[in-house]
């Protein structure tokens, strides 16, 4: 089975890209493809706790991130270098991702059959 890697690299809600990338991710999971999800650069803001996008009339997709493991997506990584750059700590994020180095991110991208960002 072909493997697929998703790159979230933009903050949430300023556009629909996070939501639309997540939809591809869920669909690929339904097809039982081996999936890696990477949060990198400004994409680390996607994982912040206590998001309340209802105040700007947008649907919260945090709950869907939290449900990824129910869909069989277990390889969820956040790049340590990006956290440092944006002054964020793992405790501030949804407890679903593992912090890894840029080298690990590089390796995951290199070893996947498809890589998709939006």
């Amino acid at each position: 089975m072909k493997s697929i890697c998703f790159i979230f690299n933009k903050p949430p809600y300023g556009d629909h890209k996070g939501r639309e990338l997540l939809d591809i991710c869920l669909m690929s999971a339904a097809f039982d493809m081996p999936i890696t999800v990477i949060f990198k650069s400004q994409g680390v803001y996607q994982l912040l706790q206590n998001q309340q996008p209802d105040v700007i009339s947008v649907k919260n997709h945090s709950a869907t991130f939290k449900a990824l493991d129910l869909y069989g997506v277990e390889n969820i990584l956040v790049e340590s270098e990006s956290l440092l750059e944006h002054n964020l700590k793992m405790e501030q994020l949804l407890p679903i991702a593992e912090a890894v180095s840029q080298d690990v991110v590089k390796h995951q991208i290199a070893s996947s059959d498809f890589v998709i960002g939006l």
């Binding site: 903050p11 949430p12 809600y13 912040l48 998001q51 947008v58 944006h86 501030q92």
Partner: protein, 88 residues
């Protein structure tokens, strides 16, 4: 004349700052609110749209150099400054 610069893309901050004068202010909205969590070395007055912070779970993380404002204050700022420039 004083100017209110409105920024909605964090990556354009450096470019925007090159055109600002001492009396100008910066208003961060939409995705650009992520900037407000970092300490900065800019000497400009910095406002941040509160609902955009809350939406992204950043309201508690705002740095004390920035002031969170609501839409009412947003309208007042556009009146208080001679003009508003959206830096796109």
């Amino acid at each position: 004349m004083s100017t209110l610069f409105i920024l909605n893309q964090p990556e354009l901050l450096d470019d925007c700052i090159t055109v600002m004068q001492p009396d100008d202010a910066l208003l961060l909205i939409e995705n650009a609110v992520v900037i407000a969590t970092k300490s900065s070395t800019t000497q400009y007055k910095m406002f941040v749209l509160k609902d955009d912070l809350i939406a992204r779970g950043l309201f508690e993380s705002i740095h004390d150099q920035s002031t969170a404002i609501d839409f009412s204050k947003f309208v007042e700022l556009t009146l208080a400054y001679d003009k508003s420039v959206s830096w796109l």
